[in-house]
Point group: C2
Chain length 234, copies 2
Amino acid sequence: MTTIRLYDLQVRDDRRPSPFCWRIKYALAHKGLPFEAVPTALTDIPSIAGGAHKTVPIIEDGGKTVGDSWAIADYLDEAYPDRPRLFGSAAERELCRFVEASLFVSAGKSLLMSYLKDIHDHALERDRAYFRQSREKLFGRTLEELASERAERIEAARAGFDSVRLTLKGGARFLSGAHPGYADYIVAGFLLWIASIATAPLLMSDDPLLAWLGRVQDLHGGLGRKSPLNALVA
Amino acid sequence: MTTIRLYDLQVRDDRRPSPFCWRIKYALAHKGLPFEAVPTALTDIPSIAGGAHKTVPIIEDGGKTVGDSWAIADYLDEAYPDRPRLFGSAAERELCRFVEASLFVSAGKSLLMSYLKDIHDHALERDRAYFRQSREKLFGRTLEELASERAERIEAARAGFDSVRLTLKGGARFLSGAHPGYADYIVAGFLLWIASIATAPLLMSDDPLLAWLGRVQDLHGGLGRKSPLNALVA
């Protein structure tokens, strides 16, 4: 079996923040597929696979290149059907899309606006000018303005995970039940992203999310421990 | 096969509003199990099955009585494993719990507060005193106060379905993919509930939810058409 190459967004101190790359690292580990996470700057992306994709993750598997986290997850289940499946059924896949959509709506914008300056400050030197320019244009405010007004937004982002908290109250070990699944990787990816760049905590230390997140971090040889939670938790 | 009896909350004009009963009517139809929906007043519930359950739905199947919509759904998949499954996998079941939790968080309270007086006004005469007293105590406001201040809450409740709208943008016919599943029944149940009692519309006529909701209403011989959408849509 060839080792799959995963282009994985890299920032300062070799941190790997991308929530979409996290999903795919978990997906590859879930399927037991050996992979190499290739450190990738934002500004490297146009030179991968002839500029076919505008974002990471991108994987190369033998001669095949696949971009976009959903396309990659589908590819992995199709190409490696004998390995543990990411989606046990078409319904599970669609409900994972609901989980993603639900968190985009409930937490996405407040997370992004709260932590945009932190993301910038952790970006590689050569990525920063592009990042600042494109994001300030998108939000119509400077990164510094967004950072100065973030206290309430962080509270809103924290509340944005209430759906996860309420689900976990049911007592299951994972969002996908007794065993972890792609829905867990989606949600954990958002939190590992913030953990890798935050300069203000998102979660309180008694947050019931943390027991679940610790279980996800421990999976697959402690894959998620590469993003310590110190900066995530007050 | 014996006909299953489903105790189904009844209000004025024989409408059947309960979102939890709707799920189970859909669940029974999904499994192709013949059932009789027994009209039930709120104040009838203590006299069913020796008062074992405080809410409907309750089903009687032969000698067995089961209450609570999740317990009933699990019972149906266990007792009738050869019929189409409600949950294709343990993961699908848990993700349906996430769908429910997510809508409780995003829309539950604003829906309930917006439509509490309408629910009261549609209740059977003999249920109204109990309903008013218990709900006014819960919210610390009169039903009339809640109704007079509901414009913004209805907007919030409408936005509370944005996760569903964003998921459906992916192009699937149902939240569960090409085929309807329990997640569809959960979400449709909330909307059929409001449709049966609303005196102010929840949705705009161009809402992309409506095409999906129409598909769900058409399922299983048009089961959901028993709750017309006129009052739901502006």
